[in-house]
Symmetry: C2
Subunit: 365 residues, 2 copies
């Protein structure tokens, strides 16, 4: 797997609107599943019985599954966290569930992912230092239990570093987690939306602790501008629902930034939405047609825009890799960021649109 790499989100066993063949065509090399979502629906045992997640969703390439820590602490209604584990109510039907580091590790073993994540505790974004320290300490103890419990030799288990926005806690968490010999390390709890500078500052506090010969994964971050920035801070792996989510909202990535395909100026435009792009959507359809599909809220709109945005990210990763190999990454980054304009409004909007991620909201049938 070439790095840096971007993992599209397939929480429920599907990259929204796409089939596996399309992901391959786009050049996607690895995708992200989610133990929390798959535990609730269809159930881990169902996926295991059907031959594991690869077979279930018919994707032959690598899969990384998140432990569900983040989802339990963000999506679910939380009941209580103890050292033993976390009790929560499902965001779907309110049913009560209890997860432990051991169970979550077993779930991911049963799903058969190639890379799995330790269970972590994600404190609220505005939590105070005492709470964040407690969560980081528990995340370490849970990571150790996952590490001890993990038994699949052909599956990699990564540890996750927490510590909120407190430099000292990030350093302590990084030191603790890297004391366990994981084959890769992730930085969690930093998809902070508008607070970009804080994100990169926390990454910088953490990076010196991470071994350079193991993958370093920044969880939940993956806009084009953040990927470029992340690579310059030493990150190898990214995942984010942003490229596919904003696609479904009509925001099309181009080298000049996100373009709103719903804008009237696209109504009669014969050219593809991104003349620079080689994706199926841009090779096949005019911007005018894509505009029309969005105006009519046609299902095909979401699929075509998703294909484009993912291909944009894949090509960006390739350009980054080339630039690194040629020793020209700094110039590439500067050039890219001088062209690629993202307004604060777009960043705010993309955060706000997170609610659209809930299934009910973006399918509606």
């Amino acid at each position: 797997m070439p790095t840096p790499a971007f993992l599209p989100v397939a929480s429920q066993g599907t990259v929204k609107a796409l089939i596996p063949e399309e992901l391959e065509d786009i050049g996607i090399t690895i995708i992200l599943g989610n133990a929390y979502h798959l535990y609730l629906r269809p159930g881990i045992d169902i996926v295991e019985k059907l031959g594991g997640l690869h077979k279930y969703m018919c994707w032959d390439g690598p899969i990384l599954t998140d432990s569900g820590g983040y989802q339990v602490f963000s999506l679910a209604r939380l009941c209580r966290v103890t050292d033993d584990g976390v009790t929560f109510r499902s965001h779907i039907d309110g049913s009560e569930h209890h997860l432990t580091p051991e169970r979550v590790t077993e779930f991911q073993q049963k799903l058969g992912a190639d890379i799995i994540m330790a269970l972590d505790e994600c404190p609220a974004v505005n939590a105070d230092m005492v709470k964040v320290r407690e969560a980081a300490d528990r995340t370490y103890r849970w990571a150790e239990r996952c590490w001890k419990h993990h038994q699949s030799p052909d599956q990699l288990l990564f540890g996750i570093i927490q510590g909120g926005v407190f430099p000292e806690l990030r350093q302590q968490s990084a030191a603790a987690i890297t004391s366990l010999d994981f084959p890769g390390y992730a930085i969690g709890g930093l998809s902070l939306g508008e607070a970009k500078e804080q994100t990169w500052s926390m990454v910088d506090e953490t990076m010196p602790f991470l071994p350079q010969d193991k993958p370093r994964y920044l969880m939940g971050v993956g806009s084009p501008e953040d990927i470029i920035e992340g690579v310059s801070h030493g990150i190898d792996l990214f995942d984010s629902a942003l490229p596919t989510r904003v696609a479904r909202n009509g925001a099309i990535f181009t080298m000049q930034g996100r373009q709103n395909i719903r804008k009237a100026s696209y109504k009669g435009r014969e050219q593809p939405v991104d003349a620079d792009c080689d994706c199926y959507t841009c090779r096949t359809f005019s911007a005018a047609y894509l505009h029309h599909l969005f105006k009519c809220e046609e299902l095909l709109a979401y699929r075509l825009a998703t294909i484009h945005n993912l291909r944009f990210i894949v090509r960006l990763m390739q350009k980054i890799e080339n630039a690194i190999q040629q020793g020209t990454f700094t110039i590439f980054k500067k050039d890219f960021l001088s062209q690629y304009k993202v307004t604060d409004e777009e960043i705010r909007l993309a955060q706000k649109q997170k609610w659209l991620n809930s299934p009910r909201q973006h399918t509606g049938i």
Copy 2:
């Protein structure tokens, strides 16, 4: 083009959720566009400027466009009908529009469809005989004006027969419309939902008037059981949103009838939803996976179910064609209908679900 043929509905220039390559793979030979929808969005001139409907939606095969008569009288808010034409308010934004037979013919010429339809007046289902006679008479006068106005030698213009559920009016309308030398004839106003017997009785009143060497098209009818029945009444062409609409509602066609993929019994089923089927969905995914996508309301669900139902219809048409050629159609029909069970509840549901056809309802982003 082999007949009998089924036309999937692409009112807004897209068979919902599918790309043209998928339609080809499925074996679709001709699709149905709609002048009413495309006139309102994106506008006829836009499609013309972009090279016509084939190029706009990237579909190389034949396209038949409906004139929009049915839509004006069912979807739009109607203002008034005079001999000149019809004035209505858009179902999208309430804007007022005026259509005449001449304008509608020109629209369809500009769209560049291979087959176009004359403008017809569709009376309400419960209209009395006076109203229905008036509509049928006007439909004839409009058909004549379309016929005189039509000027594209490489485009076929079909006439539409009306007459509601009145045998005498159906006969009169058929006699009148066939007095104009159209290259094909359609029977309109008979997608009557539960009143199947009335539909076939009206078809039988009409058929003797239709020349056997020209295509006979039953508009808005296209469930598997109705296609079989229609063929036995001499119909060559069918169109209906039913196969794709019920697919998006989780009703999967099989030789045993419609199966509700949301049923719990599919949760762990490793086999494809229809073991007898060679479509992409059945070749690739388990019924369990499709069930999961529907339970999660994932966009991919609607696409995969649509592919299956259309393929089911295409294979049905091929089986019908073979049976006709081998002189075994009567046996084939009997066998098919003895296996293929449709409950009254399903028929009622499919009618009720028509509202789901409105874009807002079945995309929701």
